[in-house]
């Protein structure tokens, strides 16, 4: 497996610091559900970044990576829904809970193909929602243009999460070493985009 470099560690540290800033200062003023939904998403990024710094890319070998990498877009998309279209919070919460449960269950109990399909549907839908919703909100003037960066962050989160999740299912979209090479940059960019989008809201 590819060894983690000093540059990778620096990029991950920056990601960790930005995620910590977002959790500490970037969610002030939000109500309970969106605040904690975003906290879970950024919290997983933060802890994952720290563990990658400590353990290197071997830390990705755990089976739990698939489940946690699904939780990132699910929780952030739930936060967006609860914040901007609260009337859909309950149905989306049910989708997120069932989707998460399905990914976790099929990961351990179902055949590889079914697990991959469930993962693609749940992860893909959440990723699209994070990308599209800020775009719609921005185009309709509910938020400033800078909020589009949240959509960009969402797209990167979705892409990064899918890359990781499919890597762990044994059906990598890109070669393993390529994914590991771009992962720290991708994590940094997605966190930076999300952070900037929130600040410019």
């Amino acid at each position: 497996m590819k060894k983690i470099s000093v540059l990778d560690r620096i990029l991950l540290l920056l990601t960790v610091l930005m995620a910590a800033y977002q959790i500490s200062y970037g969610l002030n003023g939000l109500s309970v559900l969106p605040a904690w939904s975003y906290t879970i998403g950024f919290g997983i990024l933060l802890v994952a970044g720290l563990l990658l710094i400590i353990l290197g890319f071997e830390g990705l070998e755990s089976q739990i990576v698939v489940i946690l990498s699904t939780l990132i877009p699910l929780s952030i998309s739930l936060g967006l829904v609860a914040e901007h279209i609260p009337q859909y919070t309950l149905p989306y919460f049910i989708f997120a809970a069932l989707g998460f449960g399905a990914v976790a269950f099929t990961r351990f109990a179902a055949e590889g193909k079914i697990a991959t399909i469930v993962l693609a549907v749940v992860h893909g839908f959440a990723g699209i929602l994070i990308t599209i919703l800020p775009l719609i909100l921005s185009l309709n003037g509910f938020v400033s243009t800078g909020y589009l960066l949240v959509g960009l962050g969402g797209a990167l989160i979705g892409a990064g999460g899918l890359l990781l999740a499919f890597l762990k299912t044994g059906k990598p979209i890109l070669p393993r070493d390529t994914i590991l090479s771009v992962l720290p940059v991708l994590l940094l960019l997605m966190t930076a985009a999300y952070l900037a989008g929130f600040i410019l809201k």
């Binding site: 950024f42 919290g43 563990l51 830390g59 739990i64």
Partner: protein
Amino acid sequence: MCMLTIRRVTKKYLPLIKSLQTGLLVVTGLAGYMSARCPVHNIPTVLGLSASLLLSISGSTVLNMWYDRDIDAIMPRTSKRPLSTGEIEPGKALIIGLVFSLIGVSWALALDLLYGIVIFAGLFFDVVVYTIWLKRRTAWSIIWGGIAGGMPVLAGRLLGLGQIDWVGIALALGVLFWIPTHILTFSIRYHADYQKARVPTFPSTYSFQTTRLIIAISSILATLAFGVAGYGVGLTWGFLRLLAVLSAGLFILAVKSLTSPSERLTFGLFKYASLYMLSTMLLMFLTGM
């Protein structure tokens, strides 16, 4: 010439105080002080607090190393320490340890009587109770090491407040419960070393699995204690959320280490626990600013 001599002497004697461990404990003391909303620009007190903590913690560390030099020489991990190799004479180390401790505790007493007593208690528990009396007799000695480790944060807070309060005790308990996570992962990683030196540890007295269970339980208790302390200190919701995230990371790692044990995971838990403590103290510190 003079600079070269200073550099040479520093390089030779610095390992005696385990600078990272001492530094982390000094940070807990400063965080305890700042958690009482004391101004960081109160220069004389901050300097006095830092210096008295640094000297007393360094002193107790040197005294520990002086007393344990025989077992340090047996264990491969510690056999390169200056007292084990003979690079520093034991008599010199003993004098350094006693002088540091004496100045540190005296300075602490001069700052505030109760603060000085707590600092002295920490030194006493660490050197006499933990190192000299219990370390070679029972694996449970780490509890006394943990109590000693909790004293700097308690002392820092009481110096800021002028009294011991429940928040200070919760902070000290957080450190006390954090110590097993830190030390027991170490005793798993270097199990063979401790066996060789015949120092009783949890893995050798009980089992690796029991030790991992204790690590998981103590991690949960540490996060709860820091959570309660954080609330008492008045951390913002943002900081409390961040503390919850960091605590969840420690908890998940501890449970994972219990269910799927591996040397890599043990090492990861050990490192994460150190970062967790540093981050928690930083949050307490920032709250006071």
